[in-house]
Symmetry: D2
């Protein structure tokens, strides 16, 4: 005999753009360019077992709610939006006991002086995921992804174990490049008053500053440096999770052509790549609960 296990459903990748007309500095427009995904769970055995949809709020209705809420709230921070949306689904749909809302935000830079012209930034994607559970409460995890950075020096890698399959040479000067994918979990007590915009700004600057300022012996060390810098700079957060692909830049052997390559010419390889994943926690971090599910 078989049974229905954990399940959820929703609308993925709703590309809503909310323009705050005159809502910015000096009356300029504000753009909230979002990719919103919703996911609901609760008492949904009926639709799985018999196709009884009496408890299944259509994903189309979820999408419509996203648009309507974008109108109602204005060009707010993505965390504000996701919190309100998650709460709405759980409170308004009796069978639904949990809602997970994810938002990707794409940045735009003002151009011209008219207040209505913009160029897409392209340097990173801002993210947030809110889980609102009727029993377990609410969590907020925000972050960035695809922030590509490089140190052309100040990186070593040596002292590693050698086994029968080790051919890698030790190096005291290599290029270190990665795409920073980082998420930070907010402390529950900080959520009601958190200044989401300021945290987004400070975290980006902390990541850039720490990456540039860390002399590295391994990408794991850089991961820990980034995580601990974020935790010490932003008291509202208690845990940082990072996934750092090692974007390998291999030095090209130019000796066959009678040339010396003194750390000048590299091949940027696509695959395979090292992938370093890890968490850095405050000692007093509360349990994560459903935050990372």
């Amino acid at each position: 005999m078989v049974q229905v296990g954990a399940n959820r459903y929703g609308k993925a990748e709703i590309r809503v753009v909310r323009i705050g007309r005159g809502a910015g500095p000096d009356g300029s427009d504000v753009i909230r360019d979002w990719n919103v995904s919703t996911s609901l769970s609760g008492d949904l055995d009926g639709t799985h077992l018999t196709g009884d949809n009496s408890k299944v709020l259509p994903t189309d209705s979820q999408k419509n709610r996203v648009y309507a809420l974008a109108k109602e709230l204005g060009a707010v921070e993505p965390e504000t939006f996701a919190l309100k949306l998650a709460s709405f689904f759980v409170s308004s749909q009796e069978p639904i006991t949990r809602a997970t809302i994810s938002v990707e935000e794409y940045g735009w830079t003002p151009i011209g002086g008219g207040g209505y012209s913009f160029a897409r930034a392209g340097d990173l994607v801002r993210t947030t995921t809110v889980v609102h559970d009727a029993d377990a409460g609410t969590s907020v995890v925000s972050g960035i992804k695809d922030l590509i950075v490089m140190n052309t020096t100040a990186s070593e890698f040596w002292g590693f174990p050698k086994d029968a399959h080790t051919t890698l040479a030790e190096t005291e000067d290599r290029v270190l490049a990665t795409a920073v994918n980082a998420c930070w979990r907010f402390r529950p007590e900080a959520m009601p008053t958190a200044d989401w915009a300021t945290v987004a700004s400070i975290t980006k600057q902390t990541i850039l500053g720490t990456f540039a300022g860390t002399y590295s012996y391994s990408l794991q060390q850089m991961l820990y440096a980034l995580g601990s810098a974020l935790l010490s700079t932003v008291p509202e957060i208690c845990e940082v999770r990072l996934a750092l692909p090692n974007k390998h830049h291999f030095i090209v052997d130019l000796a066959p052509f009678g040339l010396e390559n003194d750390r000048e010419v590299y091949h940027a390889d696509d695959r395979p790549y090292g992938l370093i994943e890890g968490s850095v926690l405050a000692d007093d971090a509360p349990e994560a609960g459903l935050a990372w599910d």
Copy 2:
């Protein structure tokens, strides 16, 4: 104060192609076209905290081991390969207590009669993930992804709750299309003798047959039908997890052009899409442990 949390590292997306020369039917070649990712965890605080790499087997060495093992084992099933590789890292590297190996396999169809010519199938990707933990033991989760299927009829969707944001019309005849992403967990007692190739073949046929043979009232119902069919057909497995994007085909309104659209012309939309995720379990399924981590 902060601390190192859960972490792991490895080499992602190693594109190894193993050709079994004359290993196939009638002496034809066999192609194993794989995308292998490794990930190790254990006593790795040193490299995070101080850059001490004495316990960090380089991801480059992991990659080399993949190539060497592909040579040694021959053109075996991906589960056989992943089990051996995961076990190797944990048994040979004292600080490493857990290894996760993922393999994607791309299929090739023989062409011509020479036994050495092939065309890439392109209909799906076969997957497997093995976790080998020094304490918790070994798990195997295999599956398929990106198998795109469509029923042009035999699908209804109605009876759902209507709220203030519901505009969707009920329908008794719609196109149902999805990309089947399914993973099944093997029972521990079945792993030593499982016939991986046969399971891969039967599961694909079961998915196709069940999709075609199920009259559907919701995509959740289809998910459950797929999962329960797999469990009843393949005794070696105890849990199936599925992620089914609803690849919306919207009927185009041709009335403005004086035409009736009797389920003939559709717009295949990209985003947003419904996303239905769920698990189907055997009643006697043992605990999953680390299998899905």
Copy 3:
């Protein structure tokens, strides 16, 4: 002073799916899964110079015409559809003197026995481009793209010039893999009676058979073999253009691990890749005119 040069505009990537209800063998459904792009040119200086849109049929109207024509024509071959659509725009819009219609078709394989269930084939994309010009007439170029094929042997590469930057070893036995991107131009006199479906079927079989049956000394030689085989097999066509990326499979050096690699373990590299492009023409091929623009 500056002037408006060559220009065109249209709607790109209209994802129309036409289901021919009961139109297939034994009353099964037929799926035409298309990605249609339109492009119009003509007397369009006004909109460029002053924003006078009186001659600019909106791309939205072009899209609507695609849907309506799909209804009217039924589940026809893509060439039939593109010819009708191109002709429509030029004949119905006085300022428009040229229309280019491109269609990508994705294949579906019947599953189950109900006549309404399908799985996406995924092995290749069928293409066609029709140019209809008020003065120059009409051309049809059809083809396939992304048909990935591999010979595990029967390929050599040697005898090439060596310069100061040559390190490549000669080889008498290598893996040859490519993604066949091929387009064939129809003879004007063959267009009125061409059997598009049969040509699509024969060309695919000819490409697969020729690839498998050709012992190759260079990818250029394979390109010519493919082109000339198509021309000799399909009298309706007079020119074939091919773009063949050399999907490099590099033999992995296992000697450091004490293993011999006798053409068994390869690394499938992403970038860079060789790219071989060329045309094969019938001696009596008429001028191409606008066919390839």
Copy 4:
């Protein structure tokens, strides 16, 4: 009978990163992050017809030459690199009469104060294509791609013809968004002394300024405005070609939810999209020759 038509071959997507150590302002490093593609043509019938490779410089040797030249030239502008490379192949390989070199350059922004830390810019890709032909001479076409811009107002679209398939409403206030893909052809007489870096900088600023400063009645009008502004600002160039996808932002109908949508909430659609392509030429532009092939 069939014959070999036009053909070429080369190495595509060579991901070379050239670091100019201390070559930047105040002794900081300079990064040239390039994706280089080579393509050669000439007397290549032999390899097509018989597999005689005696005139086929391997694409692997071409790749090696890219790396070696990157070393020799230093962290130069991409045009300088492409000109030298194209010339090299034609002058050093007797059978080769034409070389086409394309370079994509990805930008990096300095971070930290150390002179060796960078973040990838992500706002656009800089491009150049050089064609060097033994007979026809040399051309340089440079440009940018994927520069995404948006005006939240100052865009109208009306006055277009209505046919039987027109349902689009006229609008006097819409969002205008596009990804600017623009290429400019240099005047032959300007090439020897052109300041490539300055042109790259001025063109970007001109595009941003013109986009922000143009009140638009059609995307074609914007295309012409961009092209003519570039031509009048940069005397070194004589022709600009642009491809502007209309990245549709559709206003969402919130009336069913009792809400007014006064240009605030939009759906950013993926496909289909309008695509406007065109050229703007100086009246005295010389013939393009092979520049755009």
